[in-house]
Symmetry: C2
Subunit: 295 residues, 2 copies
């Protein structure tokens, strides 16, 4: 878990990382307890900053509109009304959002996705997920929107951890690059950045796996383009740190896959690894603003 306090000027204070408490089917309760402790710690360390709202984010299937954690396999919860539980427990206006949609919100309000009406923010790390802004508004669909990592790029492809076959995530994620290189060479896994370095040094397996990842990402972007026609596609997450080694060939291949379609700009994310945290803060502020208007 990462946590921080933001003051009214938007400055991030006291950023800290603590292990996510796992307590089987009581993990949701354990997370809420930890949030309460963190709030008390911040109150002690920054006595002059009085929180006006709280924003919690999580992976899995999250219904941002309702503030409910629909499902998380890793965190062992189903249909937990986090927003209401936070408000009842902490007496603060609260939001509960999906981690990637929160990162997308930060890019949309403050980063590379700013100024577009319809824009897709794709976070490519261990897995792949997207935040969809459609006509200026986050599309949530009960928590199921934006699962671009689980859109199929090859129906005869490898089985994905999700159970489907040939998901984009099985080829195009940093996790897949690392895993596939280890499988191809029989060596201990190395990170996607190292596979890229090996590819640049001429290692044939690394080149093939890196190229296949870019092909798969380009195909996923082409699918989103045909369906939603976003003005821009913003890519963040660990893989985006590869910079031009990713973006130059990726733009070429997206371009080659499209015909009359409106070509989206393919842009690197600007906010970096704290985008989720900043998005959570933006949503906390929105919750505080709504609460202020309502009272």
């Amino acid at each position: 878990m990462k946590a921080a306090l933001f003051d009214s000027s938007g400055q991030m204070l006291g950023l800290r990382r603590t292990p996510t408490p796992h307590r089987g089917t009581e993990t949701a309760e354990a997370v809420l307890e930890r949030v309460e402790e963190l709030l008390a710690e911040f109150a002690h360390t920054f006595p002059h900053v009085r929180p006006a709202g709280i924003g919690l984010i999580a992976p899995g299937v999250v219904d941002d509109d309702q503030g409910i954690g629909r499902e998380s396999v890793n965190l062992d919860w189903n249909d937990v009304p986090f927003r209401r539980l936070l408000e009842d427990r902490l007496h603060l206006p609260a939001s509960f959002s999906h981690d990637v949609r929160a990162a997308g919100e930060a890019e949309f309000q403050l980063g590379a996705a700013r100024g577009f009406g319809t824009v897709v923010v794709i976070i490519v790390g261990t897995g792949i997920a997207a935040s969809l802004i459609v006509n200026g508004r986050a599309h949530v669909a009960g928590g199921y929107a934006g699962e671009l990592g689980h859109s199929i790029v090859d129906p005869r492809g490898a089985r994905c951890a999700c159970g489907a076959r040939g998901c984009l995530e099985t080829v195009g994620s940093a996790g897949a690059i690392s895993r596939r290189y280890a499988e191809a060479t029989g060596q201990e896994p190395v990170g996607a950045r190292e596979v890229l370095a090996l590819a640049a040094a001429g290692d044939p397996a690394a080149r093939r796996i890196w190229n296949e990842a870019i092909d798969a990402l380009a195909l996923g972007i082409a699918q989103v383009t045909a369906i939603l026609a976003p003005e821009a596609v913003v890519i963040g997450g660990g893989l985006a740190e590869a910079g031009d080694s990713l973006f130059v060939p990726l733009r070429e291949r997206v371009d080659a896959l499209l015909s009359f379609h409106r070509r989206p700009l393919v842009l690197p994310a600007l906010i970096g690894e704290n985008a989720g945290l900043i998005g959570a803060a933006l949503r906390a502020r929105a919750a505080a603003d709504r609460s202020g208007q309502a009272s």
Copy 2:
């Protein structure tokens, strides 16, 4: 061109078909002239029905929000501001929309897509295009949204008329079924319905081509599901008339491709071949209502 007059109760009057006037780069002007003639004919035939608005629809790249025909290769126009031209010429509130989005509007207001928040209406005929309703609102994206027929299902597939490779339309459309069967057998082309009948009678080429069409459609629906997570997918157009022969295997294959995704209902369109015309009438009424509110 199909044209009809709708009275205030919604009854369709005087439905007629006339050839679309083609006049090279003057086709847009020729269409506007023909619309004016049709309006005069309706006024003569139905003197007691006074039109309050006009709705024109067309294929190609159409920006419904701006009322502009961005591009039509067949009709030889670019960036024609049809809505403004209609209003200036006919002194009536007007709308100009994409034909498939108009059909989607009819299904959303009156047909199988009614009552859903996010729903995709796919028209499968000679080609394939989709109308996207996202959180209750048509998603247009400048005219480029919903090109599901030109989403890639096989990057190593056949070249599409659009110039890209392996578009859904090259395998999953009624046009593709007809063309591919003719290519496979060296016979004169027959319609997709006949290919289905041949498949049912055990013809191996017909079975393969029909199955590949359903596989491709299922893959396209799975992609839309991963990205947008619609509550329902409504299928209309010529191929949907195949009924259970299409919908039963299609639902099975969509189901088999998905894992944790929210499964959309896969429903046949209800309105039939006049859905576009009815959607145009609904948008004409909306234009008349807006005009009444503005004055």
